[in-house]
Symmetry: C2
Subunit: 347 residues, 2 copies
DNA sequence: CCGGGTCAAGAAAACGTTTTCGCCAAATAA
DNA sequence: TTATTTGGCGAAAACGTTTTCTTGACCCGG
């Protein structure tokens, strides 16, 4: 019972050779006779030999594995980033070990520990923690294990980062609404993570640049899902005067907000223009096709893959080298507007 | 440079002990002095020791890893299944190694080989192959490695399977349209995989049960995405007589179909009623909220997790034991209707 | 004083590889 | 002929664990 595996030794025994010679054939060493090589390859084929990467990892001190710890897989953003990373890592022989923290910081810490134990050569982390890093990163530092923060960064911790330029995202969305003639622009912000904070900043900056006043009640919060968007929008509509437009933290929030507006008998975009973010799949098929800011997730993924693979191959570093003067990389991908019906006021 | 790790030996050296004793402490063996145990635990904490699972896997002949090979992550189905599996596997100490075949059979075969080399204890495969298994499963059989087919099964190969009851799905959708008074019911089928074939079967069975004729042109094919749905629907609308309703392979196809209908100036559901499948996130926010058949993906994932973990723990089997008389398990999850506007003809 | 038992620790073997080094025979050069 | 190189192969060590077996010290009862 159990799994039966063919080892180098099995090939060696059958051919009256040593494991060393067999190994050498498979590693393409030159100091082995052509005829011997042929016989080994033939036998390996015949027995269906597959190398044992666990053993190889141990002796070579290289797992060829990249770990990813994500809060969830709900948004297309993480899926597409994941696909982009997989597409780059696989041809280089790297495997991807994935863990989901379920938005739970303790679970996140456990999964990170687990990744360490699995000897990953690099770790991509989209942290679920509210904006600030704790000492849960210490084990990574101690081991000098390459860390790449994805999408969300920490205010008090310098690490390599790849994500969307969220300040720009906020500015783009807001500028677009202004351009459409909106003046009472509200914002449904997300939870207390860097992306949400940066989007608020972009929103404010752009309003200020156009000398538009911010009604104090025009920024409402939530957990970042459609449920939250629905209820936040419901209450926003009761403000006096009510907003004529809203920039939402992401597409799910925008979807909820749209539902709230339509349920209230108001029209989109005539009464309330809506802009989301993330360009979720099929958001063009919403009741009113949704204007959104595309985060170019595939590009984010590609950048993340390039960086983490580079770090892994060079055997750098969480933050140790930063302290020796080298700055961590910070890659911000510029978002792009995708304009659809939900915000089109001008014809 | 490179990653620096703390080993058992480091702890042992500092405390003038042998690795054996240190290992025993961490494995909770009883034959070690209480004071020694305390010192070891303290030192392990101090040095930030994390066990090396690669070494442990090698000696214990247990990787505690489950592999998943999926065609892609686009549909919410796979995401939710993945999440459900992760939720069950993680508490049991299993990690998930994921690979994406990109719908490419060769890539799929490579990824399977890779999983073998990584010594996974069980493999979940949603194959991209058109309905029939090839000899690419031979390495799995040879090693007696537990295989679980997810979502899509093979006609000519008996293996454990967990997925949606797709025949029922096709019947449910069709029956619902009949109930709404539709008579010219078309079907936009998916690619040549078992799920699509089964859905067609359900569709035909239900039509026959109601003695409804099938217009030969009423089944149109495609690749299963919204693009395909759009063009297939476009041409379906030119049929004489045109269908008054359509059951679509999945929600993306339905989304494309809806777009085609609306673009043609027709109304949903009055002129053409539409039913999708999969209950994609936010399909209730479509231009016309989409009626769909929910595949209960979380339940599928939970079942898949239970089965593969059970197989892995018991060290069974691809198909070897099947031949010894034990039948592979076949778990079919019953889908449920989610009725929304796109199909509601009766008030 | 001896035999048995208990307690605490370590030595050795094992897991499947890779790599370095050494060995021997045959071929080549001097 | 002798010295040197070359070609082909294997022995041994290493990677970080876990497990089994052994050892030695100590205590207790007879």
């Amino acid at each position: 019972m159990g799994i039966v595996a063919v080892r180098l030794k099995d090939i060696a025994d059958e051919l009256q050779l040593s494991v060393v010679t067999v190994s050498k054939v498979l590693q393409n060493y030159r100091d082995v006779n052509a005829e011997t090589r042929r016989r080994v390859l033939e036998k390996a084929q015949e027995l269906g030999y597959r190398p044992n990467y666990v053993a190889r990892s141990l002796v070579m001190q290289r797992s060829a594995t990249i770990g990813m710890v994500l809060p969830h897989l709900r948004h297309t953003f993480f899926q597409e980033v994941y696909q982009a990373i997989a597409a780059k890592a696989s041809p280089k022989g790297y495997s991807l070990l994935i863990a989901i923290s379920q938005e739970d910081p303790d679970q996140e810490a456990r999964e990170i520990d687990h990744m360490i134990s699995r000897q990953v050569e690099g770790l991509i982390l989209a942290s679920t923690r509210p904006y600030t890093a704790g000492d849960f990163l210490e084990p990574l530092e101690k081991r000098n294990l390459p860390l790449l923060l994805l999408d969300r960064e920490f205010a008090n911790y310098d690490a390599h980062f790849v994500g969307t330029d969220d300040v720009e995202l906020g500015r783009f969305a807001t500028a677009h609404l202004i351009e459409q003639g909106c003046t009472r622009i509200a914002h449904l912000r997300g939870p207390d993570v860097s992306t949400a904070i940066a989007r608020v900043e972009g929103y404010r900056t752009e309003l200020a640049a156009h000398k538009l006043t911010r009604h104090p009640h025009y920024v409402a919060g939530g957990t970042g899902d459609d449920e939250a968007g629905y209820w936040a929008m419901k209450s926003l509509l009761k403000a006096k005067p009510p907003p004529d437009s809203v920039f939402c933290y992401n597409d799910p929030v925008a979807a909820g907000a749209m539902k709230a507006v339509l349920d209230s008998g108001l029209r989109v975009p005539q009464d309330v223009a809506i802009v989301g973010a993330g360009n979720m799949h099929y958001s063009d098929l919403f009741r009113v096709p949704l204007t959104t800011v595309d985060q170019r997730s595939a590009e984010v993924g590609a950048q993340a893959a390039d960086l983490i693979l580079d770090l892994a191959e060079r055997g750098s570093t969480t933050s140790a080298t930063h302290k020796r003067g080298r700055r961590p990389k910070r890659v911000l991908v510029k978002p792009t507007m995708v304009i659809r019906e939900s915000s089109r006021r001008k014809r």
